[in-house]
Symmetry: C2
Subunit: 564 residues, 2 copies
């Protein structure tokens, strides 16, 4: 037989949930059993990914090992022992007792130790060299005479190593399992890379990626297959679970093209990543609802829209907390938004509490401004506690980078859906969501994991989601009369460009001036960013959507940081 049928199982796993992940492998394999010889799951399927220091617990590794054996036995007992089921898990390096990032093959009721990841990424969000020891040998799996080369994620991102060795092995296909987090623009980069590797090993390449949110990462899926000549043969949709099929015919020079999902609109991509990150964070932590302050501003409006898309407006508690400095426009905008997306909506004026504090403390200036924000933080957390819902922080990446927020005030929350979205992009996403609403996409109409039906969602009355006024008005914290963000920060269009150069591209002061930014702006931004590290470290988790997110993928000292 010259054809081998691969099922590509793009699933959403949960870190540490060995039972749940194994159950998903079984259920998915049942679905694929008639149409596939090989069923391929993502990196570290059984354990979830990334498992971080959990891998260092011997008891966890033992439990994972037992679970793999149990799984193999169950597949066999259900008559699926003839399939080759490729899963990722954690192994142990018997030479030094360290964990390994391992691919195993379940077949004939047994666990066949397969391949150990060679390149262990240790940059950005990745801590793998910290945890794992590296595999040394490349592996070719022979399935009824078809030679399948194996690799795990980072192995294809580095030159040399196992993939280079496989080039001399006359393999029929390169099979890679991945846990590759989403970032803007990565789809094309992955595809280009895969084309290079397919050419290098002279064989088609299969790329199976996990999907779903895990803490502050979002995995976009986007599983695909490229032919030896670079032709895209298959592509799964992003942000949803998917079971796709690819048939390898070793008698053919070129493989047959299967279903290729279209690319998403770039704004839709980021918006959906944020929604999925939130939805999965809630699901994996046992939350069914959220609460957040609705100020009438664009940040809270966008986050509320995302929350409604993730779990439905009826599971969102929007709290308007006006002060003496809140404009009527802001109050109206908050109410309109809540009505549009169907959230619970309460008004909790903060003046009585503010007066009670001020009676004793008599604060002024920034201290009095922070007091307002912190009273709101207490109210949001009171809703979170009493209703058992997740509090959302609504800060964006621009203000987070600059420390333009009140710690324990507007920064409170268990999850921060737009922490990696610059302010200018916040406006863009709001506009995109409104245009999707106008085109008929109701609340919950996104195609994401757990919403596979993918209908148009709950229709919006006026076909608009986010009040236009929230998008167009000048941003203000409304903590004193007439306050505008631009009193403290450069205009966001300018600020975001400086932030991108300073943070994402690591430009120093001289570079920034050479980029054409003026000295005052550069000095302001550098001073703000360098001082905000401590605040950022206390900020809730949120989905990474850019190449360089604040948080775990950027580690800076708090004290005495270098001033550019």
């Amino acid at each position: 037989m010259s054809t081998t049928r691969f099922a590509l199982a793009q699933i959403d796993t949960c870190v540490g949930d060995l039972d749940g992940n194994a159950a998903k492998v079984i259920a998915t394999t049942r679905m694929a059993r008639e149409r596939a010889d090989v069923v391929v799951f993502p990196e570290m399927t059984l354990t979830g990914y990334p498992i971080e220091d959990l891998a260092l617990r011997a008891t966890f590794r033992e439990a994972a090992w037992n679970k793999a054996n149990e799984l193999a036995a169950q597949l066999e007992s259900e008559g699926m022992g003839g399939l080759y089921v490729v899963v990722g898990t954690v192994g142990t390096d018997h030479a030094n007792g360290k964990p390994r990032n391992r691919l195993v093959v379940l077949h004939g009721g047994l666990v066949w130790a397969g391949y150990d990841k060679h390149f262990l990424p240790n940059y950005g969000v990745f801590d793998e060299f910290r945890i794992f020891s590296a595999g040394e040998r490349h592996v070719v799996l022979s399935i009824d005479g078809v030679r399948v080369g194996l690799a795990i994620c980072e192995d294809i991102w580095q030159d040399g190593g196992p993939v280079a060795e496989l080039a001399a092995e006359h393999i029929d296909v390169l099979l890679t399992i991945n846990g590759s987090p989403y970032e803007e623009g990565k789809t094309q980069i992955r595809l280009d890379l895969a084309r290079r590797r397919a050419a290098e090993v002279h064989a088609p390449m299969i790329y199976v990626n996990q999907v779903g949110g895990q803490d502050d990462l979002v995995f976009d899926g986007g599983t695909f297959v490229v032919d030896t000549d670079g032709t895209l043969l298959q592509r799964s949709p992003m942000f949803m679970e998917d079971l796709a099929y690819f048939t390898l015919d070793t008698d053919r020079e070129h493989q047959e093209v299967c279903e290729v999902a279209p690319r998403m609109d770039p704004d839709e991509e980021v918006y959906t990543a944020c929604v999925l990150g939130l939805k999965d964070y809630m699901a994996k932590n046992g939350f069914t609802g959220v609460c957040l302050g609705l100020s009438g501003g664009i940040d809270s409006a966008l986050v509320a829209a995302m929350a409604a898309d993730a779990v439905g407006g009826g599971n969102v508690y929007g709290i308007s907390m006006p002060s003496m400095y809140s404009s009527q426009g802001s109050k109206d905008d908050a109410a309109d938004l809540a009505a549009n997306i169907g959230t619970h909506y309460d008004v909790q004026p903060i003046k009585p509490m503010y007066d009670a504090f001020q009676q004793q403390l008599a604060l002024d200036g920034v201290s009095a401004e922070n007091l307002q924000a912190r009273i709101r933080g207490v109210i949001v957390m009171a809703y979170s506690n009493s209703k058992g819902v997740l509090a959302l922080a609504t800060g964006n990446k621009s203000e987070l980078a600059c420390g333009y927020s009140t710690i324990y005030g507007d920064a409170v929350g268990g999850y921060a859906p737009i922490k990696d979205v610059f302010k200018t992009k916040v406006w863009q996403l709001a506009r995109w969501r409104n245009s999707a609403a106008a085109a008929g996409m109701g609340v919950g109409g996104l195609h994401i994991v757990g919403n596979e039906a993918g209908d148009a969602g709950v229709q919006l009355p006026g076909g608009v989601m986010i009040p236009v006024n929230s998008i167009t008005k000048a941003p203000s914290a409304e903590l004193r009369p007439g306050q505008k963000d631009s009193d403290s920060l450069p205009q966001y269009e300018l600020l975001d460009r400086v932030l991108e150069a300073y943070i994402e591209h690591a430009h120093g002061r001289a570079d920034l001036l050479a980029d054409g930014f003026d000295d005052e702006t550069v000095s302001t931004v550098i001073r703000l960013v360098d001082r905000a590290e401590w605040k950022r470290r206390q900020y809730p988790l949120g989905p990474k959507v850019s190449a360089l997110a604040f948080g775990r993928d950027r580690r800076l000292p708090v004290t005495g940081a270098f001033r550019e």
Copy 2:
């Protein structure tokens, strides 16, 4: 000449402060110039340590390189060019552009590239493999014919590598520069290790360590020299800057014993580490005062005592925030403590604010308990903002591990002095501090960096610091009538032993039962610890004093963590 005179400069550097660190090298070298041929500074002297991802900024590396050259030129211009000044800094690997952890020698007005660290620790608090590329070559420095082998910190902790190679090099002395953070019991471990390495290279070994707090690490100094046969020849005191001397006479089989500082009492050691961590965090962030809530309980009493020892009672703002559930005893204890250590002391009853919130929110149960803690958090932050002082979180490691605290309530603060101290140890440290007070050690009488005078400090009126009642009474959060910690947690004597086994020794459920702990306790502790990860991640920085602190040296997923 057969003798070489080494000055061992145990200094406190600040990360990123190239100017300040270079100035300290100059000043220290001036002091040593008449008595030394070689002046040795700690690991990464110029940059501070650990610099984390700051090393990845090309502009920072360039600035460090320029600073090293400037420093060499200045030494020369001051007539100190004849000395060999050994400093640590960041270099660049020209093969791949990655940073290197480098030792350089300043001599004759020039920077002599010396040795690049070979073993890059990437466990616990260390992220070096993430940042640096590894040096490949061992180096022997020849100073007037005396052969000096070089190593940097982790190089001596791993077998093999450069130290093993130096064994064949007939060196006269092994010179190591270190940035080795404090943990309980490490002094002896380091000494034993050094003895092994000295024997291995057949030469005396010099161990120069940095001292001082840097973010959540405390470096204890404790610089020392051991002879080839393991004899301790010199030891500097811990927790203070020190300039010691050691003369190597290559004609002698055994070197002469110099000054050996005595070991500290174990409780004094931990207490002093916490005080130094706080003092340096303040100094390096520009704070001169602190504020904290004084509940009358032992945690806040101990933290207040530490703060007074760090910066003087007059720079401490103690705030009593009684509620309807606060006992008279607690209020008296708080007032007594404040009087003993001479802090500012304000009473801010929380009932008016509590009533204002409850008028609108009508919370009950845990939500109402959290509300009290959060009102206190707002007040503490109001003091922090309005007085420009650092807010201290007073939680201990036991409650932090179990999540027994209110996020944005008692957990607020910029620094948490006892976050790595178990509750049973909190009592022990309080007793130690009181016995030191009884023996005449007043407020500020500790021997730490910046307090080198080391007099008895400001005398306490009654010779007691922490009210005995705060130490002896049953711990309570006083958030509802008659509440005791033991309602929610096992007794601390038991809890701390389970925590130590579960966290520090990574014992699983089966191990814990085999350790003799009962099933109910084990289940309770595991459930609490596994659920508290998110809260811990939001907790302020605090000094590491144990082998395994929560925080940066333990990375766990928040979502779906493995249940033992």
